[in-house]
Structures are given as C-alpha cells and as structure tokens.
Symmetry: C2
Subunit: 409 residues, 2 copies
C-alpha cells in the first residue's frame, strides 16, 4: 500500500485522462512477455504517428545498461518516434551479449512498426546481471505491436512498474496563445531512487511543436526541480532515464509569451510524479517533504535537504513516529552545507521544535501525535541566507527491508 498522495493544486492547466497517450498522435501497448515471475505486464511500447523532437536525461552512474548508451546516442540527433521498454530485467552487466540483445530489441520493434531502427529507442528496468530471455521478447514485441492503441496509456504505465505498488501517470491540457496543447506522462520508481542528473523512468509526450534544443533545455530544468529532489534510499540506478517526445500533432507552436506557462506546467507535472514516487517508496508509510530555507546558497539547501532525506536514522524515526529531531539537525550538520547550530530553527508539521538553536518544550501528547499523519512536513531554517530547496522522501520501514532482502530470490 502506498502512502495516499493527492496531486497538488495547479491553476495553469486542466487535468485530463489518458496518461502518456493523452497527447494527439501517440499510442501505446503493453504485453505479458513472462520476464516478470509474477506474470504481470512487462513489455511496453510507446509510438508516435510521426517523428518527434526528442530529448533525454540519463543516469550518471558509470555502471550502466546498454540501452542507456543506445538511447542517448539515438536521441543525440533530436529525433525519435518510438520507445520499447521492458521491466523485470535491467539487461545491465550482461557483457557483450547484453549489448547485442539491447540492439536486437530495438531492431525487432522497428521492423514491426515499419520504422528505421535509429528512430526507436529502448529502456529496461529490473534485476542487474542476468541475460534477458530473448526468446520471449522475440515473440512478445510483435504481440505488443499488434495491440497499439490510443487508450493504452494506463497499460503502458502499469507495464513499466517494478516494485511499484501503483502506476504513476498524469496528463493535462494547457491553453496557449495559438491553441491548446496536451502533455502526458508515465513514471516508475519505488526504490533505488537517487538521481544524479537523471532519475528512474519518466516518459513524457506532448503534441506541441517544440524544437529538440528547447525541449532538452526544458527537460533538464524540470528534472533538476523534481526527480533530482527525490530519494528513497540514496542508491541510484544503472538504467535511469527521463525522455520527452514532442510530435507537434496539435500544430500549436508556443509563442515566446507562452513559455512560462509551458515550463511551469511541465515542472509541476514532473514534481507530481516525483512526489508519487516518494509516496510509493519501497515499504513507505509516510511521504516526507523537507523544505530547507535560510541556507547560504540554494546548493547548500539542497545538500542539507538531501542528507536529511537519505539518513536511515531520520527515516527509521519517522517510521516509528518518534519526533527524534536531533537526528534531523545532526544530518544537516554532516551534510557539508554551512550550518551554525545556534541559528537553526526547525518545525515539524507546523509545530516549532527548535528556535534559533534553543529546543522548545513538547508535551508528551504532542510527542505522540506529531508524526501520526501519513504526510510529514519538515521545515529547517538555517538562518544564514536566502538559499532554499524542497526534497521528497519516505520513511524506512520493515517492509523496505523485506522487499529488498527478498527482491532477487
């Protein structure tokens, strides 16, 4: 069971149904190849009816899957038309054979879709170090290609899941000066989330007309404020990527004055997906937002927020509903951010705990009730400047240990 998470209010755009295929001209499909032992969907296709401007942000891990290098290479020209993604097996650390397998998957999809190979990119997620069952994929990809439909966005979102308990998707419609455009998104991620300039999976589509260069810039900024501000356990993966495809099917090209609305909408959508990932963190019972203000720089604020978010001691205390706030301040103190302990102020769920270095007295009842809610807001003011950051994480529970101790076997 994930922590209940509601999409934050936003006035610029209208939420619509349809997930990653909400934008015009996109279709998707999902298929059960048999890679996942559970027998659930483990193969997903996303296809545009015409070539798209495309951009991507990738894991910075030096150990990475072949599909990361292949997709980055194919996106370097800024054009793409289809994505083939499997879950249940990352096809990472599988040697030269794994590289050939990744190429073959894209080739099969290209053949079935009638596209040039270089317009098809690939993504894989799951266990590391095991060869893909290529025989299953050789029959599965054609099966999926025969089932493409505009209604299959939610199926796509389900098929890219690993230990996620719920699919993550969002779509909206945005009125620009020259007409209406749509943006859709599907994401996955539950553990092993600490992107460094990349993240788990998020695939975004839009029917707006956006040149690849601008799309890449937009994506990089959006990721910095969303997927780069979420952590489940501090580990980062070998297969992470965030891709965005703009096929221009609406015929609407944003005017210069439309850009702020478009940017804000994309950033907000990415933040909703980031928070959904934290809420569905492996074993999570709490969604935690950490807001650091008063830092010397924004970088310092992010450093402190990230260190608090990754601290096993903070996360276990939150699971135990124990307002053991010293652990929060100690994590900030070791983060590398400039900190002066007599200037720090801390609030949890709106209750001030420390004011300028002096602890406030909590009643026994307050101690008991403070961390009851499934959503925890931690606000740390460092009292040194105007730097700030928001970061999202979850608590560390028995179920995190169970899920990850039993993941493989």
């Amino acid at each position: 069971m994930p922590v209940p998470f509601s999409i934050e209010p936003f006035e610029r755009a209208r939420l619509i149904a349809g997930s990653v295929t909400a934008a015009q001209g996109f279709s998707a499909a999902a298929w059960c190849c048999g890679i996942k032992a559970s027998g659930r969907e483990d193969l997903a296709l996303l296809v545009s009816d015409r070539p798209c401007s495309a951009a991507g942000v990738f894991t910075t891990n030096r150990v990475r899957a072949a599909c990361v290098d292949i997709t980055r290479e194919r996106l370097s020209g800024g054009v793409c038309q289809a994505l083939v993604c499997n879950s249940g097996n990352a096809n990472c650390y599988t040697g030269e054979q794994g590289w050939q397998d990744a190429l073959e998957i894209c080739a099969i999809a290209a053949r079935e879709l009638g596209l040039p190979e270089e317009l098809v990119c690939g993504a894989s997620t799951g266990v590391i170090g095991q060869r893909l069952p290529m025989d299953l994929l050789r029959t599965g990809i054609p099966e999926a290609a025969g089932r493409l439909s505009e209604a299959a966005g939610p199926d796509f979102a389900r098929a890219i899941m690993t230990t996620d308990t719920v699919p993550k998707e969002i779509a909206c419609e945005l009125d620009l000066s020259r007409g209406t455009v749509r943006i859709g998104m599907a994401a996955k991620g539950s553990g092993m989330i600490q992107p460094d300039l990349a993240t788990m999976f998020c695939f975004a589509t839009t029917d707006a007309v956006i040149p690849a260069g601008q799309l890449q810039e937009l994506l990089r900024e959006a990721v910095e404020q969303s997927f780069n501000c979420v952590t489940v356990d501090g580990d980062s993966s070998t297969n992470d990527m965030v891709l965005v495809f703009a096929n221009g099917a609406s015929g609407v090209e944003p005017s210069p004055e439309d850009w702020p609305a478009l940017r804000e909408t994309l950033f907000w959508m990415c933040r909703q997906m980031a928070m959904a990932i934290a809420a569905d963190g492996e074993g999570a019972t709490k969604l935690v937002e950490i807001r650091v203000t008063g830092a010397r720089t924004d970088g310092d604020a992010k450093l402190a927020a990230r260190t608090i978010a990754n601290s096993p001691l903070v996360k276990t205390a939150l699971f135990g509903r124990d307002p053991n706030w010293g652990r929060i301040l100690a994590a900030a103190g070791r983060s590398g951010a400039a900190v002066e302990q007599e200037k720090m102020s801390l609030s949890i769920n709106g209750r001030q705990i420390v004011r300028s270095g002096e602890p406030q007295v909590l009643s026994g009842e307050e101690r008991q009730s403070l961390l009851e809610p499934a959503r925890v807001d931690i606000e740390l003011n460092l009292g040194l400047g105007s730097g700030q950051a928001r970061f999202w994480t979850c608590d560390l529970s028995y179920d995190y240990v169970r899920i990850n101790a039993e993941y493989h076997t």
Copy 2:
C-alpha cells in the same frame, strides 16, 4: 546478538586482560546514575595516577555537543589526566544550559578527584536534544569517584555502551627495545557510525612515554585506517571522539626503531575495535569486509568501498542472503571513483562472480550457499591501477529498523 567476531591474528604483541586499565597507572569506575531507562551503568570514569600526554580526534559534524568542544580545547595543550563519560544522553542541542551542564560535570569530577579542571575532559553519548538529569550526575559522579580501581576496565567499557549489545575492549603488551609497554582500549558504537575524520567513542591508554605531538600524529593515522573505514548506516554523530592517553608509567620511551612495532600495534588494535563495532552494528546478522583493489588511487578505492558499504540495497540483499551482486557494482559505479565496467572483477567469499566485466555462471546451489556465513568478504578489483582500501560494515535487517524506530520513545 552481535555477529561472532574473533580478533585477527597478530604477531607483534601479546593480548592481555584488563581493557582500558591494562596499562600501569590507570584506574576506572562505572556507576548507574539512572540516565539510562534500563537502569544499566551509564557513567564512567577513567583516571591516570599522573598527568598524561593526550591526543584526540573528533567528529567533523557542524552540529556537535558541548563536550566535544570542551574536550578538544582541553586536549589542545596535550595534557590530560581524567575522563568523565556518560551514556544515555548526548547533551547535544541543549542550548546554553547544555554547555553549562557539560562544564559542571567536568568540574564535579575534578573536585572529587582532586585535579585541576583543565586536566579533566568529558564525553557524552545517547539521545540528542534533551537536558541531562544533572541532579543524578551531581550524586553519581562522587559515587563513581569513590569506586575507582585498576580492575574496573571492563566496567568502564560496559558503561559507555548505548545500543551496543556487547562491550568492546582490547589490551596488549608489547616488547620494545628498552622494555615492555602496555596499551588498553575501550570503544562503543553500534549505529550512527560513519566517521569523517572522527568516530564513535574509543578511549585508549598506554604506559609508554610518548610526547603529545607524536601521539596526535599516531592517532590520526590509526583512525584513518580503522574507525574511518567502518560504517553502520552512513550517519555520523554529534558526539564522536577518539582519545588516547599516555602516562609514561612504564618508564619506557620507544626508541626510533621501536616506532614501526608501536604504530602497527596501535593500528591493529584500532582495526579490531572498528570491526567489533561493525559486527555489533544495530540489528547486524553479518560482518562484511569490503576490499577494493585495482583502483586508480587509494582515495578512489576508499570512495568505492564506502559507497558499497553504505548502500541500503547492498545491505538488505546481504541480510536476505541474496547474491544480488549487480547492486554492488552499481554502488561502485555511482561512488565517484573512476570505474570502467568492462574492467571490473568481483568475488564474494572467494567465489568469482564477475571477471573483467563478464558475469560468471553460478549454480542454484551456489546462489543459495554463498551468503550463508556470518562473515562476508567482498573483493572488487577495478582493474585500473594499484589503489586499494578495506572497509567494514554490517547488513541491514528488520532489527535495525526496530531498534531505530523505537530508540527514543
């Protein structure tokens, strides 16, 4: 139950009984003040019969307890004669009053021991953000002072424990060219262990004649190879310190040719304490040694080893006895160390898993039995140079979560 841990063989010195008071001229005492809810010993004194050369290494956390600053200041002159240490309460983040309390504790001990205040240093460990029960300490310190004895080394080691399940102590006798000297040591630490140029507690004593400057240099090197290479959960504390006192009671001054033996003995003793801490890590079921070789530099090796040691995904897999080795390589890949995946080789408990980037086939039986032992040796060769490092950690179990979720309440 800690993981069984046996002291590694060493030929230079003889193990002897006596813990932190094994060296001539040192006595200790422990007392139950009532700070710990369990009613166990929570106050410890360590006293020399004459002033000592003294050196210390301290936490680099910017949020730290008053006792850290007070002890560092008093040791800056290189002379000290006594230590008063309480467990169960860190007296950290207790504002101006906490600072006064820390000074008063040293003052009471000095009065009871008939010493100048500046020869007494203090240490506290336990929960952060709560005032010390000074009334209990005002009666407890005189009680302890009245019970000093040379036989109380093991009592001292027990009284400094927090979530430790076993005391950590070692003592040995070393023949030098001009006579025999003794070194004793008591340490504590179980969670919140990731020292950055400091550590949990370790208090060491010797009756050798060693000037303070040399003692400080020796200690810094020893810590770098021991307590700075152990982690339980990546968190580092506000109160950590390692102190060493040399009272010269043996009358033996090491000659220049004695230094290698003395250094090696101290380093080895510190490593045994570091490994004992990892073996008694909160909830640990496995003691894990990570040896990284073939790194471009020693610094790179340490970075990779530390990142592997701190990875929740590696640690939960070890708890689940799941040889999910991709997580080990992925952790090295994100560590920041130079890594080329086709040059990496990995062995676990002597079995080669990856050879120069190519995974080796494990039988089902091997997968099942590989991680059965309570001691796990991970050897990662990066294939890039001659840099190397050893690091120790433990696994991440349900009990880690239980201990830390319930710690405070």
